[in-house]
């Protein structure tokens, strides 16, 4: 009897907590095609309040989830840290019955960051049936408003109705900067309620946000609001938060001034490094390259330590540091050597802002700038194997905030063109019976050079040879011969150069009087067809220029009976030039692919994919020679 009663209750409960009509309706929208759960309503309300001399901000989120299939577990994640506290979390069925989801809270570990104060609470929500509805509410509090920087509309799951509102007393000066709104239909209203302004943004039917590979990131694409809290009035007067770049610099510089460097512990090393240097540039290189080689990147983002550099001598002694620590060590060592070196704040290219926006979200990196003979050299010791005068792709074109005592200098990192990243392979091929013999040379510059030098010096000693063989011929058999005749020098200031020769048995196919030769087995970018449903521009992480030139010597008793087609496609942002020519009984093959900014924009995907299709056809074709 009791069992029957429980069953009835359970069934009724189940019926009350499901809305199958809603889930069936949500399933019909293309945005929800792959979704297992949808937020039917997602509201975030930011409330600014002055309490005494403090300005506090709370965020209250409300989400109404509806599952689109049964037996689904959703993990709701809420981040917190030293400045952001979770004050409340609750979950209920639509009947109002409370849920007590399993909760796991703790450090949020990210690759390449040794420690950060970022933490995460994960709540497990069980959706038993299709159409199960669960509502959650949470409240988090920012102890310091400058840490509230960016508000997104999208979520990890699709959202049917999204609202973001800011309730701001008139005594608080906040600027809400709208970014990437153009492609989204976001409605905005402003309402005055008493002494408060309420700014409300709303949008419907958002697809789930997703991290895409080879993307510049969310800030370049998804709509968001940058919250700049400038100042607020208290009974004792106006208090500044971050009203301008001056305030931002003042705060940053204040942290730098707290750092107690002890240059005496660096002196001997600086003298040792610069002793034999012939000129200023050699001295700078000696110090810069030593730091690149000897200081390991280990990132700490622990509260204020996420903004304050570690003392230079400590980084020196530890032989590790994060970007700020390395920049500080670079600066202090260069100062000891007599140079005007300055700490420099900068955002990498994942952040599409400059210092017109006074926000902690504008930068995420620190380098060191040296002023020498009217030149500014940007030194980033986190970049291993980069030459003085060269700048990593990720900071090119980005605005810097260079320290200048109580003032600062705003300046932009120069932008190099794609030739700075040229990868150039030249080979001469000839037939010897059923073997393709050849000699080759590989030159690398820029980002590729950096990567190869890093890998070649960071793989196990025993594996270095294998890496160079791979660079020479990516795929070869154990019966083939591949020998590297010149391994690359570890020299940042010249292009990487490697020479090799090979004898390969698997690149030709002989049929009767014909021999089919696969000239270019690397087939650069042949698989780089961009998915139709990709949301963000495709980013190669570098400007691209690859060039392959091969000369295939035709045996005297053979003649060329077929050459693959050539290709010449030039667009504003990328180009493909592939040619096969018969010159003096040699097939001259040339393949040059350029992506000027390293980006294929979304509106160019179709053209790009057409090129890749044509490219694949050429790669799959063969040079055919026929016995005379």
């Amino acid at each position: 009897m009791l069992g029957g009663f429980l069953f009835i209750v359970s069934t009724l409960q189940a019926q009350k907590n499901t809305n199958i009509t809603l889930s069936e309706s949500l399933k019909t929208y293309p945005e929800n095609r792959k979704a297992k759960v949808v937020s039917n309503r997602f509201i975030s309300h930011y409330k600014f309040q002055v309490a005494g001399s403090q300005l506090q901000v709370t965020r209250e989120d409300e989400k109404d989830f509806v599952s689109l299939e049964s037996n689904y577990q959703h993990i709701e994640r809420i981040f917190y840290n030293d400045n952001l506290k979770i004050e409340e979390f609750s979950a209920t069925f639509t009947t109002g019955k409370s849920l007590w989801p399993e909760k796991v809270c703790g450090n949020y570990e990210v690759d390449n960051i040794f420690y950060s104060d970022s933490k995460l609470c994960a709540y497990r929500l069980n959706f038993q049936f299709e159409g199960t509805t669960i509502s959650i509410k949470n409240r988090v509090k920012y102890d310091d408003p400058k840490y509230l920087t960016t508000v997104f509309f999208h979520d990890e799951e699709p959202v049917e109705t999204r609202e973001v509102s800011f309730e701001i007393p008139q005594q608080v000066e906040v600027e809400l900067i709208e970014k990437n709104f153009e492609k989204f239909n976001i409605q905005k209203t402003i309402q005055k309620i008493g002494d408060r302004n309420v700014y409300k943004y709303s949008i419907s039917r958002l697809a789930a946000a997703r991290q895409e590979e080879n993307s510049l990131g969310w800030l370049h694409f998804y709509p968001h609001i940058i919250v700049v809290t400038k100042s607020y009035a208290t009974a004792s007067g106006k208090k500044k938060v971050l009203s301008s770049v001056n305030d931002l610099y003042e705060w940053y510089n204040g942290l730098v001034l707290q750092v107690k460097n002890d240059p005496s512990q660096l002196k001997a090393e600086v003298e040792r490094l610069t002793n034999g240097a012939k000129n200023d540039l050699d001295k700078i290189k000696a110090i810069y390259y030593w730091i690149q080689d000897n200081i390991k990147y280990i990132a700490f983002e622990d509260g204020i330590a996420g903004f304050k550099p570690e003392a230079a001598h400590q980084v020196y002694l530890n032989r590790y540091g994060d970007c700020k620590g390395m920049a500080n060590l670079t600066k202090e060592m260069l100062k000891l050597a007599g140079f005007d070196a300055r700490l420099t704040w900068i955002g990498t290219n994942r952040i599409p802002y400059n210092y017109d926006i006074p926000s902690l979200s504008v930068d995420n990196h620190m380098v060191c700038t040296v002023l020498l003979n009217d030149q500014r050299y940007v030194l980033d010791a986190t970049e291993k194997y980069i030459a003085l005068g060269k700048n990593a792709e990720r900071i090119q074109g980005k605005e810097m905030l260079i320290e200048d005592g109580v003032n600062f200098i705003r300046n932009t990192v120069p932008v190099s063109n794609e030739s700075n990243n040229l990868v150039d392979r030249t080979e001469v091929l000839m037939l010897d019976n059923k073997t393709l013999k050849g000699e080759g040379e590989l030159m690398m510059n820029g980002e590729s050079k950096k990567s190869v030098l890093y890998f070649s010096t960071n793989v196990r000693n025993e594996d270095q040879k294998r890496l160079f063989h791979y660079l020479a011929v990516a795929e070869f058999n154990n019966t083939d011969k591949v020998e590297v005749t010149k391994i690359p020098d570890i020299d940042r200031d010249v292009p990487l150069q490697m020479k090799y020769h090979f004898e390969l048995g698997n690149k030709i196919s002989a049929f009767d009087n014909d021999i089919y030769v696969d000239i270019d087995w690397n087939k650069t970018y042949q698989n780089l067809t961009i998915e139709d449903d990709r949301l963000t521009d495709y980013y190669f992480s570098r400007k691209v220029k690859t060039k392959t030139t091969k000369r295939f010597k035709i045996p005297a008793d053979y003649t060329v009976s077929h050459l693959p087609a050539s290709m010449n496609k030039t667009f504003e942002d990328f180009s493909f030039q592939i040619t096969f020519k018969l010159i003096n009984n040699e097939v001259h093959y040339s393949n040059e692919i350029i992506v000027h900014d390293g980006i294929v924009k979304k509106n160019r995907f179709e053209a790009w994919n057409e090129c890749i299709k044509q490219l694949k056809e050429i790669y799959s074709d063969q040079v055919v020679i026929t016995k005379k």
Binding site: Q15, S70, N294, Y320, N461, S561
Partner: protein
């Protein structure tokens, strides 16, 4: 009174913390100020100068004893390493270290010091360690991370990590976790020492195998203790190699301690213990017999229930069946259904897999056979990737199965999964030495030694037929694949392409059950979700299979048909077919087309140049064969060239690869056979194996020419 309690509490905390400090100092002294000369060495042999790192000295000590105070068992581990870091890769590996956090029942002691080439030593300040925490309800999980400062190539890192754990004595006989490992590490070792100390009330099992030094019994007069130790020098590093059973080939050691309160408790299923104070290094046949007898006669609820249901089912359904093989196979399939299938539907919806203990299989099957007086043996042996039966020292190395006898014929019955058939057993047991005990005389049996059979390559067979057709545009190829899989070659694909509903469809007639109750609302919802994904997930798997094995991009495969599940011994092959399309098989070359036909035998093993020199023996799981028949429709207007290169043969006693091609009407028919005839090859003959592996890999690269007719 409260004050007394508070004072006592304070005293205990003070005592505990001061003990921890003293203990930390004690351990530090032992590790870094010991007289062990190996741990003060700074230079490495010239022959290893080109390595990434060299372990100058390594010490691992395991201690098992009863605590002096309280009803607690202690389990202590002390690990000390001194490593020369030669290149940046080694520095990267050791620059960030982690260790556990001390808890009430676990004390952790660590120390790190960096020794510069100049000889200066820097002890790492442990207050730099960062605690990483996670809480799940009342449970907290934490560990420490520390970045080692000042570490550079050329330095020596000398560190120790020690754990002293305790747990309440909850049973009269407590088994500590067994330890088994191979001595060679990722870096070469100049000196190593492994120590094993156990309380006088402990039973000790230990053994060195494959050339590892023997444990020596040493006496520690000072502490009135005896302990076992091995020491060695100059041990080369061991790479990860394919087809290596490291516990069978590399010098390895294994040991385990078991704490007993007193002699009387060692009865019944207490196993392979030997005598206190005397390390047990070998297991006798008699002990294996006794252990097996104890297992068989011990009570477990699951096996008793299983046997009860089997008995009832047999009474109603096995009438007139007299053949022992037929009868035992029927019992096998009934038990498989009862324990793994009958109630598995709900689990399937929740993504869970049913399981049953091997003991349930063994006891229920043996009890049934014995009751029916069917001649059978209970077999005890060991998986060949773990140990030879003569080297076994612990019961968790052992495996059991049943062999039904009919004259000189045998029917092997191994512990079942949802797919296994009567007559099959784990390939890990093929060819191993084993002991057979007559099941009808149990428990007073006398075992006979024998070798388990090694199956033929055709018993583990993949027989694949592929029909290849080209679209009129000569871009898309359609490949119809039909597979017949036998033995172990079918298990992987059965797992992804069959489920409860397939089993139930073919077994519901065999094992009639009461009509199922109507599903509840929540069950219906779960079933609906599962069924909506069932076939799409199979096609998704096939798509990945094509991508991984043929290295072709394909659209969604289609037309999946399972013709035979391969779950019964009278229909033992798993037969299925499907169709996929790809644009990557055919390539235009002028007016002609090149067909990458070699790829249709699926990606073959590639032996890299660095693998040609092999210093370990070759272990395959079992003999096996892969047959491919490829039928290519020649498009109108084209002729075929190059088929003569598809005729090849590379055969030797370990296996081979052969292929032949012919034109039949408007088709090209290519047949290949790759086969491995053994499950073990001595390293001296590795080059013989490479010969036929290379032949198969080269076939992968062969192409066919479709020549435009003039």
């Amino acid at each position: 009174m409260k004050k007394t309690v508070a004072l006592t509490f304070f005293f205990l905390i003070f005592f505990a913390s001061s003990y921890a400090v003293d203990r930390a100092l004690e351990i530090k002294n032992e590790m870094w100020n010991s007289v062990d000369k190996a741990f003060v060495v700074k230079d490495i042999p010239q022959k290893w100068a080109g390595k990434s790192a060299v372990i100058i000295a390594q010490m691992n000590r395991f201690e098992y004893r009863k605590a002096l105070v309280g009803n607690l068992l202690r389990k202590n581990q002390y690990h000390h390493y001194r490593i020369k870091l030669i290149d940046k890769n080694a520095v990267d590996n050791y620059a960030e270290m982690s260790f556990e956090v001390s808890e009430p029942s676990l004390e952790i002691y660590v120390g790190y010091k960096v020794i510069k080439p100049s000889g200066s030593e820097v002890i790492v300040d442990l207050s730099r360690a960062i605690k990483m925490e996670r809480s799940e309800g009342n449970r907290k999980i934490a560990y420490n991370k520390i970045a080692i400062p000042g570490l550079e190539p050329g330095d020596i890192l000398d560190y120790y990590i020690c754990e002293e754990a305790s747990e309440p004595i909850s049973s009269s006989l407590h088994f500590y976790d067994p330890v088994i490992y191979s001595l060679p590490q990722g870096y070469p070792m100049m000196y190593y020492k492994v120590q094993f100390r156990a309380d006088r009330k402990c039973y000790i099992n230990l053994k060195s195998v494959n050339g590892a030094p023997d444990f020596k019994l040493l006496t520690d007069e000072k502490n009135d203790e005896q302990y076992y130790t091995i020491e060695g020098e100059e041990l080369e590093d061991a790479d990860d190699q394919r087809w290596l059973y490291k516990y069978r080939d590399l010098p390895s050691i294994k040991f385990r301690a078991a704490y007993a309160r007193n002699e009387a408790v060692v009865t019944g299923s207490d196993v392979l213990l030997g005598e206190k104070k005397v390390a047990k290094k070998n297991v006798t046949v008699k002990e294996l017999e006794e252990l097996t007898a104890n297992l068989i006669k011990g009570f477990t609820l699951e096996s008793t229930l299983a046997f009860g249901y089997l008995k009832k089912h047999a009474k109603a359904n096995f009438k007139g069946v007299t053949d022992p093989f037929e009868l035992s196979a029927k019992a096998y399939y009934y038990l498989r259904n009862h324990t793994l299938i009958e109630n598995a539907e709900n689990k399937l919806w929740l993504g869970e897999s049913p399981s049953v203990s091997r003991l349930t299989f063994l006891k229920a099957m043996h009890t049934f056979l014995k009751e029916r007086k069917i001649a059978h043996d209970v077999i005890v042996t060991a998986d060949r990737n773990i140990s030879g039966i003569d080297d076994v020292i612990m019961e968790n190395e052992l495996d059991w199965l049943i062999r039904v006898r009919k004259g000189s014929d045998y029917l092997y019955l191994g512990p079942f999964s949802t797919h296994t058939v009567a007559g099959s057993f784990s390939p890990m047991l093929e060819g191993v030495k084993a002991y057979a005990m007559d099941g009808l005389t149990a428990p007073n049996w006398k075992s006979k030694q024998f070798s388990m059979p090694i199956l033929k390559s055709n018993d583990h067979l993949s027989d694949v037929t592929q029909n290849v057709m080209f679209a009129d545009d000569m871009v898309t190829s359609t490949i119809q694949v039909a597979k017949v899989l036998k033995g172990s070659n079918k298990l992987y694909e059965q797992y992804y392409l069959l489920d409860y509903y397939d089993y139930q469809a073919e077994e519901e007639k065999l094992f009639k059950k009461e009509a199922a109750k109507p599903l509840k609302k929540d069950q219906e919802a779960l079933k609906k979700t599962y069924m909506s994904k069932r076939m799409p997930s199979r096609y998704e798997w096939l798509k990945e299979y094509v991508k991984e094995n043929y290295e072709f991009e394909t659209k969604e495969p289609k037309d999946l048909v399972v013709e035979q599940t391969g779950r019964f011994h009278d229909k033992p092959s798993f037969n299925y077919s499907f169709v996929f399309e790809t644009n990557e098989l055919i390539k235009k070359a002028g007016p002609n087309y090149i067909v990458d036909i070699g790829r249709l035998i699926e990606a073959q093993t590639k032996v890299d140049k660095e693998e040609l020199d092999r210093n370990t023996n070759v272990y395959w799981d079992h003999p096996r064969a892969f047959k491919h028949k490829i039928v290519v429709q020649i498009p109108a207007g084209y002729s075929v060239e190059g088929i003569e290169r598809f005729n090849s043969s590379t055969e030797n006693k370990y296996g081979g690869f052969k292929s032949n091609a012919k034109i039949e009407g408007n088709t090209v028919v290519i047949e290949t056979l790759k086969h491995y005839e053994v499950n073990y090859v001595p390293k001296s003959d590795w080059s013989t194996v490479v010969e036929f592996l290379n032949a198969a890999y080269s076939f992968n690269e062969l192409k066919l020419l479709l020549k435009k007719s003039n």
